[in-house]
C-alpha cells in the first residue's frame, strides 16, 4: 500500500516536472516562438486577445510576467486547452490530438505489449538453452534487428511487401473510401492497414526485449535458489519458469519502463513513413510547419502517456515482487 502511494506521488511529481519542462522549453530557446506562432495564425484572419494570451502563456514572450503566464498555462493544461492549430486551422489542438491519439494508443500500445511478451519468452528460452541454436539464433538475430532504424525497417517493408508484393496497403490507417465508424467492415479495413506499421515495430523492438531477458535470466540461473531447486529434483520447467524466469522478469520490467520512451519515439518515425494518422504523424506535420502550439501539446501528451505507462509497470512490479509489500 505504501509502495502504491509512493509511486503515485512520484507519478504526480514527475508529471508536474514534465508539464513545467514543457512550459520552459520554448522560453529557453533562441528567438520568440510566440511571435512566430501568432504571425502564422494571423495569416488565417485576425487573432483575438484571448487566443493571443493563451499562445503567449504557452510559448512565452520576453516582456511578459513569467509567473502569471505559468499560472495561466497550468490552468490551460488542466482544461486541455492548447489553443488553435494554424496548420489545420481552425481546428483546436486538443481535438486534433484526440483524433490522433486512439490510433497510436491502440496500434503502438498493443504491438509494444505483444513484442515485450514475445521477446521475454524468447529470452527465457535462449538463456535456458544457452549455447544451442535456440540461443544463438534469437540472440544474434535480435542484436541485428534491434540495430535497425525504425524508419528504415518501415521503408523496406513498404517497398517489398507493399509496392512489390502488394500484400498490404502502404499508407494511412484506413482506405480512402471508408469513414471511421464501428462497423465490422471498417474495423477489418483498419486492421489491414495496421499490419505493416505493427510488423515494423515488432521487428525493431523485439531484439531488445530478447537480449535484456536473456541477460537477466543467465544471472538468475547462477543464483543459489536455482541450484537448490535442482538439488531438490524439481522438474526442469518448474525451475526454468517459476524460479529463474520469475525472478529475471523483475529487472526486465524495469527495463521495459525505461525503454518505453525509445519505442514510442521510434513508432513516431514509423507513423511518418506510413502516413499513419497517429500522434507521430501529427508531430511530424507540426514540426515541418513550425506549428509550435500543436508541437508543444503533442510532446506533453506523449510524455504523459509514457509516464502513465511507467506507472502501470511499477504497479505490476509491486504485484510481482513480495519485497515491495513490506
Amino acid at each position: 500500500m505504501w509502495y502504491l502511494l509512493r509511486k503515485l506521488g512520484l507519478l504526480l511529481l514527475t508529471a508536474w516536472a514534465a508539464i513545467t519542462l514543457n512550459f520552459l522549453l520554448p522560453r529557453l530557446m533562441p528567438g520568440t516562438p510566440a511571435d512566430a506562432a501568432i504571425a502564422k495564425l494571423a495569416q488565417n484572419g485576425p487573432v483575438d486577445p484571448a487566443t493571443r494570451a493563451a499562445i503567449e502563456a504557452q510559448l512565452g514572450v520576453p516582456t511578459g510576467d513569467v509567473w502569471s503566464q505559468y499560472i495561466q498555462y497550468l490552468g490551460n493544461v488542466f482544461r486541455l486547452d492548447f489553443g488553435v492549430s494554424y496548420t489545420f486551422f481552425p481546428q483546436s489542438v486538443s481535438s486534433l490530438i484526440m483524433n490522433a491519439l486512439p490510433w497510436t494508443l491502440v496500434m503502438v500500445g498493443l504491438v509494444t505489449v505483444v513484442a515485450f511478451i514475445c521477446g521475454t519468452l524468447l529470452g527465457v528460452l535462449a538463456a535456458w538453452k544457452r549455447g544451442t541454436w535456440l540461443d544463438t539464433l534469437p540472440t544474434l538475430g535480435g542484436t541485428f534487428t534491434s540495430a535497425f532504424p525504425y524508419f528504415w525497417t518501415a521503408l523496406l517493408l513498404v517497398f517489398f511487401l507493399g509496392y512489390q508484393l502488394k500484400w498490404f496497403p502502404t499508407s494511412g490507417a484506413y482506405g480512402r473510401e471508408s469513414t471511421p465508424n464501428m462497423s465490422l467492415a471498417f474495423v477489418s479495413d483498419a486492421i489491414g492497414h495496421a499490419w505493416l506499421p505493427a510488423i515494423t515495430i515488432l521487428i525493431t523492438s523485439l531484439g531488445g526485449w530478447i537480449l535484456g531477458m536473456r541477460n537477466n535470466m543467465i544471472n538468475t540461473l547462477g543464483d543459489d535458489y536455482v541450484t537448490f531447486a535442482e538439488a531438490n529434483g524439481l522438474r526442469s520447467h518448474t525451475v526454468a519458469i517459476k524460479y529463474a524466469a520469475r525472478n529475471a522478469i523483475l529487472p526486465n520490467l524495469t527495463g521495459f519502463g525505461l525503454a518505453l520512451g525509445g519505442v514510442v519515439g521510434g513508432s513516431l518515425l514509423v507513423e511518418q513513413v506510413f502516413n499513419y494518422p497517429g500522434v507521430g504523424y501529427l508531430l511530424y506535420n507540426a514540426v515541418t510547419n513550425q506549428d509550435f502550439p500543436l508541437m508543444q501539446a503533442l510532446f506533453l501528451m506523449i510524455t504523459i502517456s509514457v509516464l502513465l505507462a511507467n506507472f502501470f509497470v511499477d504497479i505490476l512490479y509491486g504485484l510481482l515482487d513480495p519485497r515491495t509489500r513490506r
Partner: protein, 580 residues
C-alpha cells in the same frame, strides 16, 4: 553394501582460455547407512567440489572427468538428467552453504514445499499440508513460517527452512555444505544442534562439509580430511582427535584450544595471562571502572614505545568512551528505532589490548565506527587526548586517523584490486609522515619487512589477487602501521582466514602492538583469539556491556549468562564422539 561408494573420482575445472585444474583427484571413499561423516579442508581443498560432484550438482566449467559414484548400487556419475531427478526423492539431498540465498525470494515457503511434493508426488495431495507442518516443526520453526516469504526470515530461519525442504525429499543421504558458515555464532550452534538431532531421529546418512574441524569433530563419528584435492586422512573422530596421522590434520588440530582453559596455547603464539589478578574481575555495574589504573595493570607492564617518528605528537593518549549511545532510524516504516549501542563507557589506555566480543548485532562494529569517527553517537562523548572524536570535522578526522588506524575483517575487500601493494602502503606514508621520494619508498619496504613479507621488493610490486588471504591481511596491517598510530582498531581481522593462517596473523598483531607500544581494540566473536591477544575484555549484548574485566578471568570464570552462552557455542574437538 555401502549407501554411497565413490571410486577414483576426479573433478576437473575447465574455464575457457585457462589451464584446466583438478579440484578433486582420484577420491575414493564409502559411506555406510546411518553414518554421520565429516569432510574437512581449508579453502581451495576441493571439499565443496567433491560435495557438488557426489550429488551431481557440479556445473560447467567443472566436470567429473573419471570415476564412479555408486549410490545404493547404481552409478549416478553417468546417469541421465531425468532419471537423476527422480533419484533425488528418497535418494540424496543437499543443503547449500549460503542458505540465505537458497530460497526463491518471490515464492512463499509453502510454495517451496508444494513444488517439491508436486515434482515427485511422493506425498498424497491431502497429506501435503500436514507433512509441511510436520517438517517445519522438525526444524523448530513455527507453522506460520509457511506463509512467509524468504525475505521476511532471518538467516538462521532460512537455513532451517532449507534443511526442512531437503528433508521433505525423505533422502537416505544428506550432504551439508558448510551449513552454518554464514550464520552468527549462537545461531550456528543452535542450527548444528538441530542437524545432529535430526540425523539421529530420521536416521539418514549425513556428510558434513566444513572448514572447521571443531564443528565436524563435535558432530560426526568419522572424519575425512582433504587437502589440495586429495583425501589425506580418513578415520573415526576419536582417531583423528587422539592420533592424527597426516601432518596436515595435526596442524589443523593444533589450532584448537579451549579459551576457558588455565593455559591456552596455539603454535606461534606466546602463552599469555594464566595468572589472574585478585582485583581483576568486574561486572556490569563496574564497567566504567574497568578503565581505572588497577584494571590496566597488565597493560602498564608492556614495554614503552621505542623512540620513533612521533616527535612533536602527543604521547600516551587514551581513548575515553563516556556513556555513548547510538540509535539508528527504524529500518522500515512502522518499526522501532534500533539502539545499536546502549550507554557504553570504557577507557582504552595507551599500550593496552582490549577485546570487544559479542554475537553479530551486539553493537561491536558500531562501536568501532564511533571510536574512529566514521559515525557519530546519538549521545555521550568520545575523547582522544584533547579531541572530541564525536565532534570532529573533515580536517580533525584526518588528524585523528594519523593516530587511530584500522585493520579490516575482509582482506579481499580491504585492498583495491587495481593497486599494487606499494601504492597501498605509499598513500599513508605520503599523507601522514611527510616522507618523499626515496625515503618514502624505503619506509614502505621497511613496513613490508616488519610484517614479514619478504623479499620486500617482490611483494611491493604485487597486486592483491597475487597474494594469499594471509598475505593480504599482512599488507593491511602494514598499512595501518604506516603512520605510527597510537591505536589500532582490529575488526575481526582473522575471521575470514583459514584456521592455519589465523595464528600467524594474530601473533604478528600482538608482536607489533608490544614492540610499537600501540594500543589495540580487538573486535571479535571468537573468544579463543580474544584470549590469545588481549588483556582486557568487554562482552557486548544488544548494545550493552554485560561483563568486562581481565580476559583470562572473564573467560575462565564467566558470570553473565550471555558470556557463558558464547563460550558454550565454541566448537570443541574434545567433545568428539561424546554424542552430544
Amino acid at each position: 553394501m555401502s549407501l554411497l561408494e565413490v571410486n577414483n573420482l576426479s573433478v576437473v575445472y575447465e574455464p575457457r582460455g585457462a589451464e584446466p585444474t583438478y579440484a578433486v583427484k582420484n577420491a575414493s571413499f564409502s559411506l555406510e547407512r546411518g553414518e554421520f561423516v565429516g569432510l574437512v579442508g581449508e579453502s581451495g581443498s576441493g571439499k565443496s567440489t567433491l560435495g557438488f560432484a557426489v550429488t551431481r550438482l557440479a556445473k560447467a566449467p567443472a566436470r567429473i572427468s573419471e570415476g564412479t559414484i555408486l549410490f545404493d548400487g547404481r552409478d549416478i556419475a553417468s546417469m541421465k538428467e531425468e532419471e537423476l531427478r527422480k533419484q533425488r526423492q528418497g535418494g540424496f539431498a543437499m543443503v547449500l552453504q549460503s542458505g540465505m540465498n537458497a530460497l526463491n525470494p518471490v515464492r512463499s515457503i509453502r510454495k517451496h514445499f508444494g513444488d517439491i511434493f508436486a515434482a515427485h508426488g511422493h506425498v498424497p495431495k491431502s497429506k501435503r499440508l500436514a507433512r509441511a507442518y510436520d517438517l517445519v516443526e522438525k526444524v523448530e520453526l513455527p507453522r506460520t513460517v509457511l506463509d512467509r516469504f524468504p525475505g521476511e526470515l532471518s538467516g538462521g530461519m532460512r537455513q532451517r527452512v532449507s534443511i526442512a525442504l531437503a528433508l521433505s525429499l525423505e533422502p537416505q543421504l544428506m550432504v551439508f555444505d558448510e551449513p552454518t558458515t554464514a550464520l552468527d555464532v549462537l545461531v550456528q550452534h543452535a542450527v548444528m544442534g538441530t542437524i545432529r538431532e535430526l540425523q539421529k531421529s530420521e536416521n539418514f546418512t549425513a556428510l558434513l562439509i566444513s572448514h572447521d574441524l571443531g564443528i565436524v569433530l563435535e558432530s560426526t563419528s568419522r572424519v575425512m580430511v582433504m587437502s589440495e584435492g586429495v583425501i589425506v586422512e580418513d578415520g573415526t573422530s576419536q582417531q583423528i582427535l587422539q592420533s592424527p596421522q597426516h601432518a596436515y590434520t595435526q596442524m589443523l588440530l593444533s589450532h584448537y584450544a579451549d579459551p576457558r582453559a588455565e593455559v591456552v596455547e596455539v603454535p606461534g603464539l606466546v602463552v599469555r595471562g594464566s595468572t589472574i589478578s585478585t582485583t581483576g574481575h568486574s561486572s556490569v555495574a563496574e564497567a566504567v571502572d574497568a578503565a581505572s589504573p588497577a584494571h590496566s595493570a597488565t597493560a602498564t607492564g608492556a614495554p614503552t614505545a621505542p623512540a620513533r617518528r612521533r616527535a612533536g605528537r602527543p604521547e600516551a593518549t587514551a581513548i575515553v568512551v563516556d556513556d555513548v549511545t547510538k540509535v539508528y532510524p527504524p529500518p522500515r516504516r512502522g518499526q522501532d528505532p534500533v539502539t545499536a549501542v546502549d550507554h557504553v563507557s570504557f577507557t582504552l589506555e595507551q599500550g593496552q589490548s582490549m577485546a570487544l566480543v559479542g554475537a553479530s548485532g551486539s553493537g561491536k562494529s558500531t562501536l568501532a565506527k564511533l571510536v574512529t569517527g566514521v559515525e557519530r553517537p546519538t549521545s555521550g562523548a568520545i575523547h582522544f587526548g584533547d579531541a572530541r572524536v564525536d565532534k570532529l570535522r573533515r580536517k580533525g578526522l584526518r588528524e585523528l586517523r594519523r593516530e587511530v588506524q584500522m585493520v579490516f575483517q575482509d582482506p579481499y575487500s580491504a585492498l583495491n584490486p587495481l593497486h599494487t601493494v606499494e601504492y597501498a602502503l605509499m598513500r599513508p606514508v605520503l599523507n601522514y609522515t611527510g616522507l618523499r621520494g626515496v625515503a618514502a619508498r624505503t619506509r614502505v619496504l621497511e613496513l613490508l619487512d616488519t610484517v614479514g613479507l619478504t623479499p620486500v621488493e617482490q611483494f611491493a610490486a604485487k597486486l592483491p589477487h597475487q597474494l594469499s588471504g594471509g598475505q593480504r591481511q599482512r599488507v593491511v596491517i602494514a598499512r595501518a602501521l604506516a603512520c605510527d598510530p597510537q591505536v589500532i582498531i582490529a575488526d575481526e581481522p582473522v575471521s575470514m582466514l583459514d584456521v592455519s593462517l589465523r595464528a600467524g596473523v594474530l601473533a604478528l598483531l600482538d608482536d607489533l602492538r608490544v614492540t610499537f607500544g600501540v594500543s589495540m581494540l580487538y573486535i571479535t566473536h571468537d573468544l579463543l583469539s580474544a584470549r590469545l591477544v588481549t588483556d582486557q575484555i568487554m562482552v557486548l549484548n544488544q548494545g550493552r556491556v554485560v561483563e568486562s574485566g581481565q580476559t583470562a578471568q572473564v573467560l575462565r570464570f564467566p558470570e553473565d549468562p550471555y558470556t557463558m552462552e558464547l563460550l558454550e557455542a565454541i566448537p570443541q574437538p574434545q567433545r568428539a564422539g561424546t554424542g552430544r
